[in-house]
Point group: C2
C-alpha cells in the first residue's frame, strides 16, 4: 500500500470514529423528540453537548490536518500534485473533508460554545415569545444571535455578500447573485399564477379533508404509502413527534416521524410522504462510505428536492391517487363516500394564501420563502435592524400573498430557524422545489412508463432512478454537477413553474 | 480553592465527560432492545464499541491517574496524607474511582478488545446452540471464554481463589469463603422447606393465573403499580423488550421494560414490580454526583435487593393484594370472578420445582443459583472441564430441585451469562434476596404502620425509607457498611429463610 493511500485509510478511520459520535448524538436527539420523559431534558442537553464537542475537537485535530495538507492545496481546496494521483472518488472525499475542516478550523472553540449557548437560550425565549405573541421579549435574543452571525462571517470571510457565507453552510456554492434573478422569476410567476387562481370561476373545495379521521387508521395508511415508496422498514421506522423530521444513524437505520390530527387528513399523509422522500435519500447513501463525505447527503437543497418530489410531484399527482384513492376509501368509507378521485385530487391541490408557511399549499409556499429570504438578506447585509422585522414582514406578506398577520405569532415569530441562528437556510426549501421539478421531468423522460407505473402503485422504478442518479453519489459531485449529470440541464425555475401552471390549469379550470 | 480540591474538581469534570459517553452508549443499547429496526444491528454494535472504547481510553489516562495518586496510596487504595485532609464523601469518591481505575489499568486494551469480540461471538453461537439444543456447537466458544476469564484473573491477580476476582467485579468485597457457608445454610434450609411443601395436604392452585388476560390491560395495571410505588414517570418510562431490564442515563431518565403474555398474568406484573425496584434505586441516586461513584449504584447484589424487596417482600405479600386485588379484579372481572384475595395470594406463591431459573418461584429460585454457583466455581478453580457441564448440571438439578432437564436447552444452555463471560454474576441474585429480607424487616421496625400502609396502597413511606437508607448513598459505603448502617446487622441468611418459612406455612398450611 502506498503511503498516500495509507494516509487516506487513516483519515477514513478517524472520520468514522467522529461520525459514530455524531450518530450517537443524532439518536439522542431523536429520542428527545419521540420517547424521552419530560424530566430528562437538562441531562440530555449535556449528553449531546459532550458528544458534539468531542466530535468537533477530534475533527480539527492536527492528525486530520496533516493528511489533508498532504493531498490538498489549502489555497484552492483542490488536490495538489500528490492528491491528483488518486482516483476521482478519493479526490472528492479529500476536497469535501477539507471544505468541512477549513470551516471548522476557522471558528474558535470559544465562539462555538458561545454560539450554541446563545442559540439554545434564544430558542427557549422564542418558544415563549411565540406562545405569548410578544416579539419584544425575543428581540434582545434575536439581536444577540444576529451579532453572532456577523461574527461568524468575520471568522469565515466572504465574497460579495456576508449572506453568501451563511448560505454556503447549507447549500455549498449557492450565492445571492445566483438566487436573486431566479427568485424574482419565481415570485413573478407565482404572483401571476395566484391571480389567475383567484379569478377562477370553478375553485375546488377541500372541506372533505377536514372531517373526523381516526388517527390510527391515518398512521396505517401513512405506513402503507411509505412501504410502497420503497422506504425499507427493516432499516427504519415511523414515530410521532411535535414536528415531523427524518434522522439517520447509518443507511441501515433511518427514521422518519410524523404528526397526526383527527380533523385533518392532509397533515399526517403528506408529512409521511415528505419525510419518506428524505428517508429514501438517507437509506440510499452508500453504507461503505459512512463517516466520509461520500456517504453524506449533498446539501439541504438536494435533500429537500427528494422530499418535495415525493410530496408534490408524486403525492399530489392525479396518477398517484388513481391507485391510492381506492385504498384510502377502504380505510375511510364513510368520510369519502360519494367522492371520486378527481374531486379528491382537486381538494388536495386547493390553493389558499394563508399566514403559516408550514401549512401552505404548493403555489403559495415559495412566496413564504421569498418573504423570509428578502428579510434575512436585508438583516445580514445590515440594511434593516431586527426591531423593524415585524413591520417588514407584514408589508411583504401583503405584497406577495395578499394576507397580513394580525399577530406576530402568526407573522415574524412563526418559524424557529432564526432563533437558533439558521440564517441562509430558507432558500434551500425553494431550491428543493426547483430541483424536484427538474428531476421528476427527467425521470419521466428516462422512464417512459413512469406515469402508468405510478397509477398502478408501482413507485419502485422512480425510487431506483433517484437511487441511481442522486442518492448513491453522496457528496462526490457539487449540486451543479449532480443536477447537470442527472438532468442534462442547469438550475432553472421554469420546470417548476410550468408543472405548477399545468396542475393549476387542470384543478382550477382556467385556460392554459 | 486549595490545590487539592481543585484537583478533585478537575477529576469530577473528566469523570462526567466519560459518564456522558457511557450514558449515550446505554441509550443506544436501550434503543437496540426496544425500537431499533432489525437492519440496524451491525452499525449499532460499531457505535457502542466506539463510545465504550473512547470512555475506557479517557478513563485510564495519565490526567486521571495523577489526581488519584495525589490523594491515594496505591498499595492500600485508601487516602494518603493529602487525601485524609478531605471530607468523607470526597475520600469515598477517590477510593472508589481508584478501585475502578486500577482494575481498568491492569487490563491491556488489546485484551479488552479480544474479550469483547470473543464474548460477542460466543453469545451469538450460544443463541443458536440453545435454539438447536446443541451444546457441542457452543463448547469451543465456551472454552475460549473461560480461557479469557483465566487470563483476566492473571492480569488482575487474586487472593485465595481466582473466582474471588471475578465475583469482586459484580459484588465488591464478596469472597468464596464468605459465600460458601451462607449458601450451604440457604441450600439446606430451602431443600428442607421444599420437602415440607411437597408433603402439604392442601397445596394452592395457580390455574387462574393462566387464563386469557388482555395484554393492554396487563400493561395498564403494571403502570398503575409502578406509579403507586413512587416510580416517577416524568423521569422514566415503561417499554416492551424480549427480556425485561432497567437502564439509566441520569437520575432524571431511568427506563424500565417488561414483557407481556396473554396466557400468563404473572410475567408482566412481576417484571414491572421487579424492574420498578431497580428503577427506584436509579431514580434515587443523587443527581449532583452523576458521573462519580457517589452517583452510582453500589453493587449488583444491592441493586438486586431493591428489585427483590419490591417483587417478593411487597409484591407477593398478602397486604399488597389487600389493596391491589380489587383493582386487578376491576380490570379482569370475568377471569377473577369468584376469586378472593386469599386464593389469589396463594396462587402467586405456589411453589413448583421447575427447570428454568427465570420462571422459578421464590423458594426454588435460589436453588437454581446454587447449581450455577457451584458449577462456575468448579470451572474457575479448574476442577472440571467445560465439556462436563451438561452432566454436572443434571446431577445438581436432581440433587437440589428433584427435576432433571431432558434437553440441554432447558439445562446448561438456558442462561446467557456464561456466553458473555459473566462468571461470578449469579451469586449476586441470591445476595440480593438476603439483603432484601434484612432491609424489609428493618423497614418494618422503623415504620410501625408499614403493613397497614401497604394494605392501603400507600407504598411511599417504604420507597422513602429506601431512598434514605440505600439510594442516596451511591457508592459512598461498602455493601457491608451500608447494610450495617441500614439494619444494624451483618449479612445473614436467616431473615430470608424465616420470611419464606412464614409465608409458606401460611400458603401451604403446614405446622409452623
Amino acid at each position: 500500500m502506498s503511503q498516500t493511500t495509507d494516509g487516506l485509510e487513516k483519515l477514513k478511520t478517524k472520520l468514522l470514529e467522529i461520525q459514530h459520535l455524531r450518530d450517537a448524538a443524532s439518536l439522542l436527539s431523536w429520542d428527545q423528540e419521540t420517547y424521552m420523559p419530560t424530566g430528562g431534558g437538562q441531562a440530555r442537553a449535556d449528553h449531546i453537548a459532550t458528544l458534539q464537542t468531542l466530535a468537533h475537537d477530534k475533527f480539527v485535530s492536527p492528525d486530520i490536518e496533516d493528511v489533508l495538507l498532504h493531498h490538498i492545496d489549502p489555497m484552492t481546496g483542490l488536490a495538489n500534485s500528490k492528491g491528483t494521483g488518486l482516483d476521482e472518488a478519493s479526490q472528492a472525499l479529500l476536497r469535501e473533508t477539507w471544505r468541512d475542516f477549513s470551516r471548522a478550523k476557522k471558528l474558535p472553540s470559544e465562539f462555538i460554545t458561545r454560539l450554541e449557548r446563545e442559540c439554545s437560550l434564544a430558542q427557549q425565549v422564542w418558544t415563549e415569545a411565540r406562545q405569548d405573541n410578544n416579539f419584544a421579549t425575543f428581540l434582545p435574543n434575536l439581536r444577540t444571535v444576529v451579532a453572532l452571525k456577523y461574527e461568524e462571517v468575520e471568522y469565515l470571510g466572504y465574497t460579495d455578500s456576508p449572506y453568501n457565507t451563511l448560505l454556503d453552510t447549507y447549500e455549498p456554492g449557492a450565492t445571492v447573485a445566483q438566487l436573486q434573478p431566479l427568485f424574482t422569476t419565481i415570485r413573478e410567476g407565482l404572483v401571476s399564477l395566484l391571480e389567475q387562481i383567484r379569478q377562477s370561476p370553478t375553485p375546488p373545495n377541500d372541506r372533505i379533508l377536514y372531517q373526523t379521521y381516526d388517527t390510527d387508521r391515518q398512521l396505517e395508511f401513512g405506513k402503507l404509502v411509505l412501504a410502497k415508496m420503497g422506504y425499507d422498514f427493516s432499516r427504519g421506522r415511523l414515530d410521532l413527534s411535535a414536528h415531523p423530521f427524518t434522522t439517520s444513524f447509518h443507511p441501515t437505520d433511518v427514521r422518519v416521524t410524523t404528526r397526526v390530527f383527527e380533523k385533518d387528513l392532509q397533515s399526517c399523509l403528506f408529512s409521511c410522504i415528505h419525510e419518506g422522500g428524505h428517508g429514501l435519500y438517507e437509506q440510499g447513501l452508500p453504507p461503505g462510505h459512512h463517516g466520509t463525505p461520500l456517504g453524506e447527503a449533498l446539501s439541504l437543497g438536494i435533500h429537500e428536492s427528494q422530499s418535495r418530489l415525493w410530496e408534490n410531484s408524486v403525492g399530489r399527482s392525479r396518477a398517484f391517487w388513481e391507485y391510492f384513492f381506492p385504498l384510502l376509501k377502504d380505510q375511510f368509507p364513510n368520510q369519502l363516500s360519494g367522492i371520486n378521485v378527481d374531486t379528491f385530487y382537486a381538494a388536495i391541490n386547493t390553493v389558499k394564501p394563508s399566514l403559516i408557511r408550514v401549512e401552505a399549499d404548493e403555489v403559495t409556499y415559495n412566496l413564504h420563502i421569498m418573504v423570509r429570504f428578502e428579510i434575512e438578506l436585508d438583516v445580514i447585509e445590515k440594511r434593516v435592524g431586527v426591531e423593524d422585522l415585524p413591520d417588514l414582514w407584514r408589508t411583504k406578506m401583503k405584497e406577495y400573498l395578499g394576507v397580513v398577520p394580525e399577530r406576530d405569532a402568526d407573522g415574524v415569530l412563526q418559524d424557529v430557524h432564526w432563533s437558533f441562528g439558521a440564517f441562509g437556510y430558507f432558500p434551500t426549501y425553494t431550491l428543493g422545489n426547483l430541483y424536484a421539478a427538474m428531476l421528476f421531468n427527467k425521470a419521466g423522460e428516462d422512464l417512459p412508463t413512469l406515469q402508468t407505473d405510478i397509477a398502478q402503485g408501482n413507485l419502485i422504478p422512480l425510487k431506483e432512478w433517484l437511487n441511481h442518479h442522486i442518492h448513491r453519489h453522496g457528496r462526490q459531485f457539487t449540486s451543479k454537477e449532480l443536477i447537470q449529470r442527472a438532468t442534462g440541464q442547469t438550475l432553472s425555475a421554469e420546470p417548476f413553474l410550468q408543472s405548477l401552471r399545468d396542475k393549476m390549469q387542470e384543478v382550477y379550470g382556467f385556460p392554459a
